[in-house]
Symmetry: C2
Subunit: 334 residues, 2 copies
DNA sequence: CTGTTAGCGCATTCAT
DNA sequence: ATGAATGCGCTAACAG
């Protein structure tokens, strides 16, 4: 591995000059610049990122904490971040933090120990105070899909209220009047927010809200099954269901089929997060798409602004959209 | 950020002593050791990984190149690698290389420029020579799900022949005699290897191989549809199909349903890679599971051996297994 | 515009 | 067993 000294020697200049042409921050005599560039090529010189980091106390790396990777949402986030940062000649260090407080803290510590220039995290199991502490310790943090009260200008989220609204609105437009809702678990604040959107859509349509038609699921397939069974056990009729995510919608679908219903005629179903499998279920699932890549982009731009002196526009709330497929149909009425 | 000097000063020792207790390689007087440890805690001292890297010319990072991340296979690989290496206090730097030669080369260059200690790559679009060049330049490379002829002792793969064999065997055991096959594209060597397994299973069962029952697909849903239509257009009867991957199997399923077939009675279908959505299709897909985590583990251990002086056992070929679900049933015939 | 110099924080000789 | 000195490869004052 050639060093900057060898390049300097070969080009017959000092190492400062080499450093200057390499970084392009100061101007250099054209002739010298050419000699340097020639030497660089001949030696196939690669600057050591390590030495550079030590000298200017920046690692050009940003730590990314996600709870898991084998889920479309987070893998897309990571993929987007990687692409954006690599284009800026920075790399990401990912840490998979799992779901519990302890392992997430460990993962954060790991990233801190790696001297990242900034962090982009989804660490719902860690207290806001802990995260704020790190953030104040000089290390900038951006939060994705997680709202940290005390750091609102660093939290990037989807507009979940609108998600619930759009799903419900879609069914209303198809003529459905009796629409049930299967929610995510109460411990996630977004669950309640989403329900709000559902209620707003109904209210706007002048339809009274029936509390028994709202079931609290667990974001898993079983929650969908349990939800459908529970909803059917009541005497309130409904011709459509909004689910907070696609997994529960999938559960509803299998359960409905087991019950002998024919889909989508007997029941229209909307999912909630446009999972990868959503177009493989039968019928292909109508769902809500969250602009994952955009969320990643915003968080990345925030970091680029804060630590790399860029000046990008950022938005903190990203708008979802409806993806109509085959699991919802016009109300078959009467 | 406190440095090792401040720790030394506070503990009343030289920085060498601090370095020694930190790395635990040399022995240190118990009293001094305690004073150092106390100082470390009081100052909340964290060694700079950057300075350490510069001093010992190791970054404790390994570069990971995958073509994409939003696919179960690669996200699982990455997740496994992250977990293994973090446990060894090393981090991975991922680069998403896409599918074309150019972008993959760029990604490799990026990783090299990051001074990784080793590379773990899936870079099918890049020539073996290029990769071998890097490997010989002193940077160890492990290949996952890719066989590099010239570097067989660094290539970690699944036994695809066995995959094709197990899928076919499963159908034979269910009594099927006429089994079609939808293959992956010819440009992937594994496609042909898999077909071999299919043929071997048939041969062992004394069933003649009908070339027209083998269709070359594209590993996408459309390939499944096209395959089924093509196979049906011939006069050769078949009661089951083996697909090289789950996506094509999903295509076969939708197509079959559109044709009015009732599944799985009219047609048994086996997938090929146990994708995440495989249990969400209807009927739930019987498929072949590849031990992804194990593959990652082997590549990781190889790297640990080569560059971090460990001594783990490694295997180069990992065995797949069959995952029976609902898309295959006993032959209904006669 | 260019060269000289001094660190960045640590590991590692080398003496003691 | 401990401390002093040196260097890893680079950036950033500084002086010219």
């Amino acid at each position: 591995m050639p060093t900057i000294y060898q390049v300097a020697e070969r080009a017959g200049v000092s190492l400062s000059t080499v450093s200057r042409v390499l970084n392009g921050k100061a101007s250099v005599n054209a002739a010298l610049r050419e000699r340097v560039e020639k030497a660089v090529k001949e030696l196939n010189y690669r600057p050591s990122t390590v030495a550079r980091s030590l000298a200017n106390s920046r690692t050009d790396s940003v730590g990314v904490l996600v709870p898991e990777l084998d889920t479309t949402f987070f893998s897309e986030i990571v993929q987007s971040l990687e692409s954006i940062f690599r284009a800026e000649n920075k790399h990401i260090i990912i840490a998979v933090g799992g779901k519990c407080t302890d392992s997430q803290k460990k993962a954060v510590d790991f990233l801190v120990s790696r001297n990242c220039d900034a962090l982009i995290v989804h660490a719902q199991a860690v207290t806001d105070d802990y995260l704020k502490g790190i953030s104040e310790s000089k290390l900038p943090i951006a939060f994705i899909d997680q709202h940290v009260e005390s750091l609102p200008n660093a939290s990037f989220n989807f507009d979940h209220e609108k998600g619930g609204y759009l799903a419900t609105r879609h069914l209303l437009e198809l003529g459905h009047q009796n629409i049930a809702y299967i929610s995510g678990p109460a411990e996630f604040s977004e669950s309640a927010i989403r329900v709000k959107g559902y209620k707003r859509a109904l209210s706007e349509a002048g339809i009274p809200i029936e509390q028994p038609l709202i079931f609290n699921g667990d974001n898993a397939e079983d929650g969908g099954k349990a939800g459908l069974l529970e909803l059917l056990s009541q005497d309130l009729p409904f011709t459509a269901i909004v689910c907070a995510n696609d997994l529960m919608a999938s559960g509803v679908i299998s359960c409905a089929r087991e019950l002998g219903m024919s889909l989508p005629q007997d029941l229209s179903i909307v999912g909630g997060d446009n999972a990868a499998f959503a177009q493989h279920v039968f019928p292909r699932l109508t769902t809500i798409d969250m602009p994952t890549a955009k969320l990643a982009e915003m968080a990345a731009k925030y970091v680029l602004n804060r630590v790399y002196a860029q000046n990008n526009d950022v938005e903190f709330a990203l708008e979802p959209s409806i993806v109509p497929r085959d699991s919802t149909v016009q109300y078959q009425g009467y």
